[in-house]
Amino acid sequence: MIMYVTVPSSKNKRYLSGFDWVMGVIDHILKKTTCSGNASQIIFELDSPLESVSVQNSLNRFLKLFPIVQGRVSRDVNLAPYWRLPRKNFVNGLDLAVQHLGNSSLQTSISSLMEEWVNRPFRDENHHLVFHLIYTRSRKTYFGMTFDHRLFDARGAESFIYLFQRYLNDDDNTHIAEGISLTASADLTQWKDKFEAGQHLNRKIIALSKTSLKSIPVILKHSKTKKGFRFRLICFDMNDTERIFANAFEEAGYLMVMPYFLAIATQALHALFEKKGLPANSYIVPVPVDKRSSGDIKKDLFFNYASMFLFQIHVHTVHDRKTLIMDIKKQMYEQVQSSFPEILLKASALLRIAPVSFLKHIFRIPFEGKFASFSFSHIGRCSYQSSEFMGAKINNFFHMPRVPVPPGIGIFFNSYNGMLNIVISWLDGLVGDDDISAIECNLKKLLCRK
């Protein structure tokens, strides 16, 4: 007897990867514990104003080419989750919020507006993007895009805005969407590999959870309203940035910028953990790594192409930066050698069978529910490759992500045009403004040594 097996078709569907599903779980956790989901935003500081009508019309035309931005998570008959496109293109129209700043301090007003944007929940499950335009009393203008992390990762979001810029510059721009991956296989094969990867990952997590983990306790139960995230932006000019990178190469070695920044972030946060008297032996820090399979980032623009390293930093190494950097480099080497980020991706594909509401509980089993000590990322390569946006010169460009809860606090590094930016993101009430000022002071002191 011949048995026919129906192979799920991916001709018209974009099945979600295991990591996309993990982002969905984080989104669910954040919606349950805070005022919004797993959103992030990118912000341009521009040297001159943009005409809001022109921005609105251009974005409207551009977004009509991408109905995928109004898709939603759904589950197929083969049980694999996928991204379902809306029946009608662009049903909700474009959201562009235009605001004018008054007399108050520019820095304070911008920060509070950015916090307001990222803490506002998306309208519904098909809504994933909101754009912002802020006019100040000077010519300086801010353009921002708040995005759902289930739709893009950070580099994908940068590329999307860059694609918009290219769309505006290109006379024949009707083909701008060509070459972008809009479908993906359900990846329902090689189960043995996936189960072995799951086993490997379990062993790693069990090994890591043998020592107690430092984490700031998140108390959510007694608050009447769900809390939002706060941001502190620290910008360095070109001279400072040059010195910081020279220090990184000198102390950590050629190209070893990520281990250096992770060491600095740990040292800067350590004082806060000590002050709070949190008893534990180590920090656990997940660090995202880009796993795109193509140098053409346009191809892998939508959804998530990241995996993670998991670093365990023993408290006794924190005060000695040389030892700390060596330890981080050694762990990175071991994880690359054992293909840990690839193993994590394979293992995460198994999670897709379970609903996010169930996985929320599973994620809290290791490390006594603490998940991680803090979030960290360093975007080494900027995917926005132009010095202007819609004709205005870009002064600076930065990311402001919400952070999984727990840990509810993160330090994020990115560079634009030879300038380093650091954003501290934290759940309101988790730590005080004076604690954040102390972390900022520590970061500046540690990074800018002569």
């Binding site: 070695g253 190209l255 070893m256 790594v289 140098g295 390293f309 480099k329 990175m332 080494g380 390569r381």
Partner: protein, 80 residues
Amino acid sequence: MTIQEIENTLTKGIASIALKDESSLTSDIPFHELGIDSMGFVEILVFVEKTFKLQLIETDLAKKDFETIHALASFISKQL
């Protein structure tokens, strides 16, 4: 293996790690100009160790040995 053969092997491996076309890589281009970050750099280390059966950690590796494909090929040639 000659230095040229080592360079060819390295070019293939590094092109795949840096997600570049082999034809766009020359042996004297510094790694940081290829957009290689710390993870890419460690991937190159692991690639060299597996391909040439070397334990780089146990060698007296210096920064100058890692700045270009040619410099790395010369270093590997001495170790083989």
